[in-house]
């Protein structure tokens, strides 16, 4: 297992069972270790534990909502550049590296990059559309700890999100990976039109051999930042009922060993569920992460620049400067500081420590500020009297 000292104690990455654990100082001492300088009150913030690494900007799929605006002729860094970036992640004590793009399968050396990540002590994982995945290619991908295939539902549902029908290719990829013994999950982007079919999508994914589904919020970035965003995003009723939706799905699937995961931007939606809103400690102990930009999460773009997450513009910090620069970069520092100074209604929210103010991609797009998430049920309720007054 990998252990990295933090002010609270340490992050520990386990392979069996696969998990990341936040251990307090007593727990670290029980392992015979001491955090020394890292446990001092003035210890600087640590680099991320998970980094999203764009290995290419090439992709021929042409999804209408591509947040990266990936294209068939997109840039693709040479192998030695990718290896140097992974050196920097290793030196920073990063634990998980999530390969993405573009479409990573366009790289001939993808399996080699996974193996090189392993050699550096990083747990490599991969997101792919599944297009072009052959049995021979799968054999090269065994170095990945997990591979997720973008799968928004069967034929028509998939098309509603991405503008073309790629469901068959995605389903074939999930089944092939599962048959090959590689742990596979599906990434499901939720829109107003496709949420009703989510139960059927999960059943289908499980039947294909997926062991996990990650539910993703539709975000206004890249090609998804147009006017269509307002029609695609979940409705206020769907958002308020999201906790109850999750509850039903988990109770159906968890006993079979099929896990459900939500992305960081969906955590504010949990505030609409009275039981979950009263369970902040449980959420924290379950390791639920809200907005971790500038903290546990960072993204390294295809040009090598670091960003707080994959959906926002880059900072001035190159990946090669992550070890020291993560602490000093002003943009990352601003993201890191936000949760501690968030305005109402986040300031008094029971879930604030977990949620960290919701998705800044959405707040920046809709409100023009790095502020409370305007689609959060609690923020909406807080603003409702003002909106009603303005309308009167």
């Amino acid at each position: 297992m990998k252990l990295r000292y933090e002010r609270f104690g340490a992050w520990v990455k386990l392979d069996a069972p696969p998990a990341v654990v936040a251990l307090d100082r007593d727990g670290v001492r029980a392992l015979g270790l001491d955090g020394g300088r890292r446990w001092q009150d003035d210890a600087p913030p640590t680099p991320p534990i998970e980094v999203h690494l764009a290995v290419t900007q090439k992709c021929g799929a042409g999804c209408e909502d591509c947040y990266l605006d990936a294209r068939p002729d997109g840039a693709e860094p040479p192998r030695d550049v990718m290896l140097a970036r992974m050196d920097a992640l290793r030196d920073a004590g990063v634990m998980t590296v999530a390969f993405g793009g573009g479409e990573p399968l366009t790289r001939d050396d993808l399996g080699l990059l996974a193996d090189e990540a392993r050699r550096r002590g990083l747990a490599p994982v991969l997101t792919t559309s599944g297009f072009g995945l052959s049995p021979a290619k799968v054999e090269q991908l065994r170095g990945f700890a997990q591979i997720n295939v973008s799968y928004d539902g069967a034929a028509g549902e998939y098309e509603k999100v991405r503008g073309f029908d790629g469901a068959r290719a995605a389903e074939a990829a999930v089944a092939l990976l599962a048959r090959s013994g590689i742990r596979v999950g599906v990434n499901i982007v939720l829109t107003r039109a496709t949420l009703p079919s989510l139960p059927a999508t999960l059943v289908r994914a499980r039947a294909l051999g997926a062991s996990e589904a990650q539910l993703l919020r539709y975000k206004p970035a890249g090609r998804a930042a147009g006017l269509d965003y307002l029609a695609q995003r979940l409705s206020p009723e769907q958002v308020s009922g999201f906790g109850e939706t999750l509850r039903a799905l988990v109770l159906e699937h968890a006993p079979t060993g099929f896990s459900i995961r939500v992305d960081c931007s969906m955590v504010p939606f949990l505030s609409g569920d009275p039981v979950l809103y009263a369970s902040a400690d449980l959420l924290a102990r379950a390791g639920v992460f809200g907005c971790e930009g500038g903290q546990a999460l960072a993204s390294v773009r295809v040009d090598g620049q670091v960003a707080p997450c994959s959906f926002v513009p880059p900072t001035a910090l190159p990946a090669s400067g992550l070890v020291r620069g993560h602490e000093l970069d002003p943009d990352l520092a601003r993201w890191r500081a936000y949760p501690g100074s968030a305005p109402e209604p986040c300031a008094s929210c029971a879930l604030a420590a977990v949620c960290k103010g919701g998705c800044k991609v959405v707040s920046t797009h809709l409100d023009g500020v790095h502020g409370p998430d305007p689609e959060c049920p609690r923020v909406r309720a807080y603003r409702a009297p003002v909106a009603a007054e303005g309308a009167a």
């Binding site: 251990l23 270790l33 999203h52 975000k219 993204s299 997450c309 070890v323």
Partner: protein, 84 residues
């Protein structure tokens, strides 16, 4: 340096437990199963994690990793922690 003594980790020392590897390249995800079926899944998972913590070899990474001989010569400093 001798390997430090290691004793069982109390489950109460686990501040947060994030199951799984995760594999999304755009946003960080969290398994939510244990929010709804705590008694069934949570207990077994915590037990497995506590067992692994007491058993698996440890590699300290990041700036707390054991310094090299050159580092020690330069800093004249003791390591913050060393893996057993």
């Amino acid at each position: 340096m001798n390997a430090p003594a290691r004793s069982p980790v109390d489950a109460g020392s686990i501040r947060a437990l994030r199951p799984g590897h995760g594999a999304n390249c755009s946003s960080i995800g969290s398994v939510v199963d244990t929010l709804f079926v705590t008694s069934l899944l949570g207990g077994a998972l915590f037990a497995a994690v506590v067992g692994a913590l007491g058993r698996e070899p440890i590699e300290v990474v990041g700036d707390g990793a054991p310094p090299t001989r050159d580092d020690r010569d330069r800093e004249g400093d003791a390591p913050a922690g060393e893996a057993p």
